[in-house]
């Protein structure tokens, strides 16, 4: 049983990290492209990029919390 819980905790955070990495990579690439196209808008782009990164990361933080809860049960 503890083995399953351990596997579950690892899978939870693993898949969540994968998904959020994809999403955040997209955000960063589009933001960098925009900044390269129009350097005057760099400040505004940077602010909004940080915001979007935080939102996407929060989804993988939910999975992290679940992983902590599971790891506490081992």
């Amino acid at each position: 049983m503890t083995g399953l819980i351990a596997v579950a905790a690892a899978l939870a955070i693993g898949i969540a990290a994968f998904g959020s990495a994809l999403g955040q990579g997209n955000v960063a690439s589009k933001a960098l492209e925009g900044m390269a196209r129009q350097p005057e808008a760099a400040g505004m782009l940077r602010t909004n990029m940080i915001l979007a990164l935080a939102f996407i990361e929060s989804l993988s933080i939910y999975a992290l919390v679940i992983a902590f809860l599971l790891a506490a049960k081992i």
Binding site: V65, F68, L69, A72, K73
Partner: protein
């Protein structure tokens, strides 16, 4: 899961009260006075800008009025000068005309006087010549007429011939 997360009602209520107290204190002592000061400052700056703009507008209006008045004064002055010049010209012309008239009158007077003098001189000369002619003629004729008695006739004829202009000098 509740223990794993660490949820505890006491802690929750403590944090709730803590946050509420913080919001209350900050709202009363930080946000209210500072927002009021920000508003007051913005109002002051707006008032200063408005009054500066009004003062500018008043200054512009005054400047316009002054320039207009100066332009008026200049044109008035020019009018006065023109009038004076024309009046002076008219007067000068009048004086000249007057002088011209008087000069010509003097000339005609002088001519008339000359004519009169000439007439008088002619009359005088006529008398003298008559006397001389009579004297000469009488001397010449003394020997002839004394016997004839025709001297008045000859004198008349001589005078007639003279006045007809046979004797021109």
């Amino acid at each position: 899961m509740v223990e794993a997360l660490g949820i505890s009602l006491k802690e929750f209520i403590f944090y709730l009260i803590n946050f509420a107290i913080l919001v209350g204190v900050l709202a009363k002592f930080l946000y209210k006075p500072f927002l009021a000061i920000l508003d007051e400052r913005r109002q002051k700056i707006q008032d200063a800008l408005d009054s500066a703009e009004a003062a500018n507008r008043r200054a512009d209006e005054k400047m316009d009025a002054y320039t207009r008045r100066i332009a008026n004064v200049e044109s008035e002055g020019r009018e006065i000068i023109r009038e004076a010049k024309s009046k002076a010209d008219a007067e000068a012309r009048a004086i000249l005309d007057d002088a011209g008239d008087r000069a010509s009158k003097m000339i005609t007077d002088a001519r008339e006087e000359i004519e009169r003098d000439k007439e008088r001189a002619r009359e005088d000369m006529k008398g003298e010549i008559r006397d001389l002619a009579l004297l000469a003629a009488s001397r010449i004729l003394e020997q002839e007429v004394a016997a004839d008695g025709r001297q008045d006739e000859i004198v008349e004829q001589i005078l007639k011939e003279q006045s007809e202009g046979k004797w021109n000098n």
